[in-house]
């Protein structure tokens, strides 16, 4: 290290940020790679449950996953059918917070992965509920 670099204050060198960003994004990508892609299954099963109670259009369902540093969000957008003829299209969204990261790749046959997600306090509106 030269005497000059001693004086140059670079506590957050860009290379350090590069490393941190890579570590975060790649932890997620690796987990998604080795584990089964459970999102489609999760979506189907959630829909099956909701469909037991409400008549929903399968095409009006959106599942989004936003993977963050230490908290990931699973967002489920379901457009509910209106009872009355010309009724307003109702949109309800339920947000499930995935507890913490998913650092562990899910093993084949490890069904507990979906279970590990907790709805936490982030479940808005008390879950999927029809607004009248």
């Amino acid at each position: 290290m030269s005497i000059f670099s001693f004086f140059r204050s670079a506590p957050r060198a860009s290379a350090v940020q590069a490393k941190e960003r890579l570590q975060i994004v790649m932890a997620h990508e690796r987990a998604g790679r080795t584990g089964p892609d459970y999102l489609p299954m999760l979506q189907q099963e959630l829909l099956a449950v909701i469909a037991k109670y409400i008549d929903i259009d399968q095409n009006k369902v959106e599942v989004k996953l936003d993977r963050g540093g230490d908290c990931s969000t699973l967002e489920l957008n379901i457009e509910l059918p209106a009872r009355e003829a010309a009724a307003k299209a109702l949109k309800e969204s339920a947000k499930l917070a995935v507890a913490g990261n998913r650092p562990q790749p899910a093993k084949d046959g490890d069904e507990s992965d979906a279970v590990r997600m907790s709805a936490g306090g982030a479940l808005t509106n008390g879950g999927v509920k029809k607004r009248r």
Partner: protein, 271 residues
């Protein structure tokens, strides 16, 4: 039986072709019968880097399609004994690479050659998949830069799941990192990922660090693999990497800034 080495990266422009040419030449210099194959169908470039572009008559795809014999398409290097080049087609597309066709050519080559170096195209589609499918060894060419590191990780995933060795449950493809275009001065200034950072993230053994070097462009200008420029940093770094590949224990050079003496600063001589 020849060993198949793939130079792969996911990302383009990181130095796969430069490294394929250098590595194949290095192996031939060490006495191994070596052939280097261009898998970048449609974007033939290995011939230029190897300096044999005016001798291409038939190519890899011609051989796959049975339009030419392998011996007609192979170009013997004029400088180095033991070294041959199999150029690719400039006019067809990647669909011309069938798994059966590639396998047939590789099988034939592995009877005559000790090493078959496959220069992969960028991406993770057909061309890249074909280049890595039959590999015994993978050299992951990576630049100390976020997108390159991430793409290398994707390629490692592909090697672990979609190579022949993975599919057939054989011993996995060996994977080694070749970190290229490394600039120790920028690393020291905190502007570039360190070797150790990249190693920590990718978690594979280090084959070599090739410094950013003006010698690479100079060598490509004249169609000479940079490993033949033995006075250059990059050439020496490739020689070291080949030695390590062959199992020798060679210390890493060019990973810290060179101390610039007054003399060299006056001359401004950069390798």
């Amino acid at each position: 039986m020849g060993k198949i080495i793939v130079m792969t990266s996911g990302k383009g422009g990181v130095g796969k072709t430069t490294s394929s040419a250098a590595f194949a030449t290095g192996l031939a210099l060490r006495g191994f019968k070596t052939v280097v194959i261009d898998f970048d169908v449609g974007l033939r470039n290995l011939d230029l880097i190897m300096g044999c572009e005016r001798r291409v008559v038939f190519d890899f795809i011609n051989v796959i399609n049975g339009e030419a014999k392998l011996s007609q398409a192979l170009i013997k290097d004029k400088r180095i004994e033991n070294l041959s080049i199999l150029p690719t087609s400039q006019t067809r597309d990647k669909d011309a690479l069938t798994r059966e066709g590639v396998e047939k050519v590789l099988n034939e080559l592995s009877k005559d050659f000790d090493y078959i170096v496959c220069d992969s195209p960028a991406g993770i589609e057909r061309g890249a998949l074909m280049a890595l499918y039959f590999a015994d060894h993978a050299v992951i060419v990576t630049n100390p830069e976020v997108s390159s590191v991430r793409d290398s990780d994707r390629i490692l995933g592909v090697l672990a799941s979609r190579s022949r060795r993975a599919e057939q449950g054989l011993e996995p493809v060996t994977q080694q990192l070749l970190l290229t275009r490394y600039d120790p001065e920028r690393v020291e200034r905190g502007e570039m990922l360190k070797v150790d950072d990249v190693l920590e993230i990718l978690a594979i053994p280090l084959l070599g660090v090739i410094p950013e070097s003006q010698a690479v462009l100079r060598a490509s200008n004249v169609g000479m693999p940079v490993i033949l420029d033995e006075a250059s940093n990059a050439g020496q770094a490739y020689l070291d990497a080949v030695s390590r590949f062959l199992g020798e224990d060679v210390e890493h050079r060019f990973v810290t800034p060179q101390k610039k003496g007054l003399f060299s600063r006056l001359l401004r001589r950069s390798a």
